[in-house]
């Protein structure tokens, strides 16, 4: 602390070496949501730092790279090189939440596939508009399955690999059942008293339904 007469900022206030300041500026410009002025950088850096010089060093370092250090008004920012914009074209996405009808329909298809539109309507208790299923198909989360061997041979819906990828599942069979959801505390709230009785196979009559349950298991290595 006493060798204060060295001319270099490095020793005056124990400012970090310029190379270290350059690293700091690099990290800040990268992480900052908006362009940063030299004053803003200086305010965050250790006392005695000289962001102006560090920015110039950094700018030179990134010359010709895929990322550029550019001046925006009186501030600085890091941007991808203009000539590589074509790589980012698909990056520009707007995210919207799925509608309640869509997410419910999707959940029913995932849990009950292959399932017909009539069955979806029966479970949801309201009719399902064509647009809802179309949207799910367009998202490539749902596709047509085999026709059902019932009168009218209705089409069925199943979920796709894209669905599994999006929701981080290895197979739709890994989705937890209602009982597991409840045990894991994943239900928004406990069902009201009495509603329990309406849930099939959750009423403690285990052995009564065991045969059914067994028969319902899909072939072991079914993939979609």
């Amino acid at each position: 602390m006493s060798d204060a007469h060295d001319a270099r900022g490095e020793s005056l206030f124990r400012a970090p070496p310029l190379a270290e300041q350059e690293r700091m500026v690099e990290a800040m410009l990268f992480a900052s949501p908006a362009p940063m002025t030299l004053a803003e950088m200086e305010a965050r850096m250790p006392h005695g730092s000289d962001p102006a010089e560090a920015v110039q060093l950094l700018r030179r370092r990134y010359e010709g790279r895929g990322v550029q250090v550019t001046r925006v008004g009186d501030a600085w920012a890091m941007r991808t090189a203009a000539d590589l914009g074509f790589l980012m074209a698909r990056e520009t996405v707007e995210t919207r939440k799925l509608s309640r009808a869509a997410i419910e329909t999707l959940a029913i298809i995932a849990y009950h596939q292959p399932v017909t539109r009539a069955e979806i309507e029966e479970i949801r208790g309201v009719s399902v508009s064509r647009g809802t299923v179309d949207q799910l198909i367009e998202l490539e989360w749902v596709r047509f399955g085999r026709r059902k061997m019932t009168p009218g041979r209705p089409v069925t819906y199943v979920v796709t690999q894209g669905f599994l990828d999006h929701f981080g599942l290895e197979s739709a069979r890994d989705l937890p059942g209602l009982k597991e959801l409840r045990e894991a505390g994943l239900l928004e709230s406990r069902p009201p008293e009495g509603a329990e009785a309406e849930l099939p196979r959750d009423d403690g009559t285990g052995d009564m339904f065991e045969d059914d349950a067994e028969a319902q298991l899909p072939p072991e290595d079914e993939d979609f």
């Binding site: 990290a27 990268f30 992480a31 900052s32 949501p33 908006a34 920012a77 941007r79 991808t80 203009a82 914009g85 980012m88 074209a89 698909r90 990056e91 520009t92 996405v93 707007e94 995210t95 919207r96 939440k97 799925l98 309640r100 869509a102 997410i103 419910e104 999707l106 959940a107 029913i108 995932a110 849990y111 009539a118 309507e121 029966e122 479970i123 949801r124 208790g125 309201v126 949207q135 998202l139 929701f167 981080g168 599942l169 989705l175 209602l178 959801l181 994943l186 239900l187 928004e188 069902p191 009201p192 509603a195 009785a197 309406e198 849930l199 099939p200 009423d203 009559t205 052995d207 009564m208």
Partner: protein
């Protein structure tokens, strides 16, 4: 169940000694801090000041049982799993102290003790790992992703997002919906087998003697022919299920004679 493992009972005024009250309060505070019997055992084992691999299970068992006994004398309400562990440890203690009986089934006292020591070591290891994990350089605390969202926007594409929780909660919402009813069929005049079964399960407890199946029809279902048919069929199917489950016996003296049932007591 073990959210709050131990709750203090209403304080009884019989301890007047300040010291004992203070000791009791300290104990209550301590007990509340534990996350289950294994956590308590792990804490107790620390007092032995030895490597977990060399911990004396017999001594630990002793400490735990004393602790539980103390909690009881102070009328602290212990959650069931603490008592189950106490019973298991008492059993273990007897196994460890008595000479081994060669005819006895099951694991030896030493094996049981080894397993307990293993459980404690494993839990301690996991706690250690958790601490190491949380001490790492974490995203948004020590390491940061790029701050700005992309600026080279040309083509715009809309994606829809939904998380796994959204999906599962949506499903649960549908399946637990209060007013859920299949709309395709009017069920005013239909008694389902499940409904009949629920009713009968409650009622057969009182049916010590042979009773006509028809007497189980719910009120208001005996007169209207459509409802009566549905209720009879449902009750009959329910009675068969109960018989299959060994809960009731069924008899019918001849074709079209009344069907009677009674509770089976040997179960």
């Amino acid at each position: 169940m073990a959210d709050r493992p131990i709750a203090a009972n209403d304080a009884e005024p019989e301890w007047d000694a300040v010291a004992s009250r203070r000791a009791a309060e300290a104990l209550i505070v301590d007990v509340d801090g534990f996350e289950g019997p294994l956590d308590l055992l792990l804490t107790l084992s620390r007092t032995q000041k030895v490597d977990l691999r060399r911990v004396s299970i017999l001594q630990l068992t002793e400490q735990y049982l004393v602790f539980i006994e103390q909690a009881r004398t102070l009328r602290i309400e212990l959650a069931a799993d603490y008592l189950v562990m106490a019973a298991w440890l008492a059993f273990l203690k007897s196994r460890l102290l008595l000479p081994p009986d060669p005819t006895e089934e099951g694991p030896s006292g030493e094996e049981m003790a080894a397993y307990l020591a293993f459980q404690l070591e494993r839990l301690a290891a996991m706690r250690d790992c958790a601490a190491k994990l949380m001490a790492r350089d974490r995203l948004f605390q020590d390491r940061f992703p790029r701050g700005a969202s992309d600026e080279i926007t040309t083509a715009r594409k809309i994606t829809y997002s939904a998380g796994l929780l959204d999906l599962m909660q949506a499903y649960a919402r549908i399946r637990t919906r209060d007013d859920f009813r299949p709309f395709v069929m009017d069920r005013d005049h239909v008694l389902t087998m499940e409904q009949a079964l629920d009713r009968m399960r409650g009622l057969i407890g009182y049916a010590g003697d042979w009773t006509d199946l028809m007497s189980y029809l719910p009120d208001g279902w005996q007169l209207d022919p459509q409802r009566r048919r549905s209720a009879t069929a449902a009750n009959f199917a329910a009675a068969l299920e109960l018989a299959k489950a060994g809960r009731v016996q069924i008899r019918q003296t001849e074709s079209f004679a009344p069907i009677e049932l009674r509770r089976r007591d040997d179960r």
